[in-house]
Symmetry: C2
Subunit: 341 residues, 2 copies
């Protein structure tokens, strides 16, 4: 049913080669012939079969991205923003995006990646939420497969990535809190297996040590990046005999959960307890009170990542293989004393 090059060739009494080359803009076809081909293609409703092109060109013009879905009801707006960045970056260069979800650290993860890569479904991968020991990345590097990551690893591997300086980001947050007079500051940590946890925790620790306060392990609790875990972990901190007066959260979602826990106990966020998040998802601005948070340009990072992978695929040299962006603290009411809670 669908129109192929063969159909056009038959109608115009030309060879498939000529039709292909006319459409492809090659110079070895007469201007008049090209016009006839173009018109016939339009009239007949020709659309190239992308699959056949991929097979022949040995290029699928497709990027792969596996969303590390921790929960079934995956809800972190972070990924949606990242996804749309990756998708837009890819689309701009004529690439499509193949998406899967897979629980991080699960046994199927390897299979999902292999299916995409070995099956030649994709030409490159974007990896997000990197781990200290990231088997996804060691696999890709070992295969020599084009990729770019959002985040670093603890592995001694040289691969292209974009990351945000989490130590600096949390450092800014801590400086802000310490400057406001806080002396007991808690930290709701992301899972330790994630690389950025190390950086953010380092920012927390260093700020405490520099200010002479010292690190107190009892003020650090580990969540899983969901609101629910932020809620739960904040509860634990509040149950402490001497609870903190401020808390830095590993991401915005946990901060929202923490705010909920604080408010549920009749305390006022900002006045009684200060809360800082990380990410600056759109919701951070519109919760109550608006959340002070460390902003990372997620959409732009996604876009950059897909652009980097495509550059690699196309064999062009990367001007910057490893980018570390400086985050920016956005101060809102969750860390300032106001009348209302």
């Amino acid at each position: 049913m669908p129109v192929t090059l063969k159909d056009i060739a038959a109608r115009l009494n030309l060879s498939i080669t000529t039709v292909s080359r006319a459409l492809g803009g090659y110079p070895d076809v007469a201007a008049e012939t090209r016009q006839r081909v173009l018109q016939a293609a339009r009239e007949m409703g020709y659309h190239p079969n992308v699959i056949a092109q991929s097979l022949q060109r040995r290029r699928s013009n497709t990027l792969g991205f596996v969303i590390p879905a921790t929960e079934r009801y995956l809800s972190d707006p972070f990924f949606l923003e990242l996804l749309s960045g990756i998708g837009d970056g890819a689309a701009q260069r004529g690439f499509d995006l193949l998406v899967s979800t897979c629980a991080p650290l699960s046994s199927e993860e390897r299979t999902v990646y292999e299916r995409m890569i070995r099956g030649k479904r994709v030409d490159g991968m974007v990896v997000a939420r990197t781990r200290k020991e990231d088997e996804r990345i060691s696999y890709l590097v070992q295969e020599g497969f084009p990729m770019a990551a959002f985040g670093r690893t603890a592995l001694a591997l040289d691969f292209p990535f974009i990351d945000v300086d989490g130590e600096e980001g949390v450092g800014q947050a801590m400086a802000h809190l310490l400057g406001s007079g806080h002396r007991r500051i808690g930290f709701i940590s992301p899972p330790v297996y994630l690389m950025f946890t190390e950086h953010r925790l380092a920012g927390y620790r260093r700020a405490l040590e520099r200010s002479g306060l010292g690190f107190d392990a009892s003020l650090v609790v580990e969540g899983n990046l969901s609101q629910a875990s932020g809620y739960e972990m904040m509860g634990r901190l509040l149950d402490l005999g001497d609870p903190p007066s401020a808390v830095v959260c590993g991401n915005d979602l946990m901060a929202l959960g923490a705010i909920h826990a604080i408010q549920e106990r009749g305390l006022a966020v900002g006045r009684d307890i200060a809360v800082v998040g990380f990410d600056d998802i759109p919701l951070a601005e519109h919760c109550h009170p608006p959340l002070t948070t460390v902003r990372q340009p997620i959409y732009e990072i996604g876009k950059m990542a897909s652009e980097m992978v495509i550059q690699i695929i196309e064999g062009r040299e990367l001007q910057e293989r490893q980018v570390i962006l400086q985050p920016q603290l956005v101060i809102r009411e969750s860390t300032v004393t106001t009348e209302r809670g």
Copy 2:
């Protein structure tokens, strides 16, 4: 470099046909031969070239989904949940998912769909957030292309869909508010071009008329489903000479924005003004106060939708072509009077 059927055939002195059929589990290959093929394939690290398979089978085993991204920084967790449902449903049947983003009603929209479909990149599409006059759906129906939608349309077209009874959902919310004594109830509407707006608005209107209160157009404002617009529109309602004592929002995100606007004016959500959302995204439970909302099982709907499309692709008859699910009101503190605001 990658291992092909040809390589295995050469090593075992067999034909490509036999290797293919051995791997494919056909009965016309000797048990011993099959074993040899299987082992060689394993040893040599054979992975079928999915692209070549797609070309030959005329099936890409891929579903397409275009996220209607209204803003650049797309943040509605709704879509992430839907996406993971679609992806999981597809994966369970061996289908991949190709994702694009595109502004709804934009001129590129048609191109994005055409590229996927005419290029044979996908075997079926899932369409979300249906419009009253939905060109995406009329295009797909006209092409006879396998699809399933989340939502209905105003078009006289027979296509497979899953929808939630929005009229009933808002009806429940209204009954709850009216039962709590509210007499002036506002409605922050989704964009009118969307089909579900009609249903939800009908639920609002009917509840008012039934209760003898009558419909007051000045209490209805139109947002764009973002928190920012919920914030802005709530502001307008509050600026009214006689502001409502309760407000029903077209989705949770706008409800969160509305809560923000209310609290910013020093009013207490729940006590002073009741707020109801629609969706029950995970954040609804963890905002302050927790949001009363109409729950729709987004993940399950996504999963069902991809299952439906795949059934159609595989030529199996659908037992239920058009499904309308009953939503459920989840009552939380945003509509009940409490001490704290």
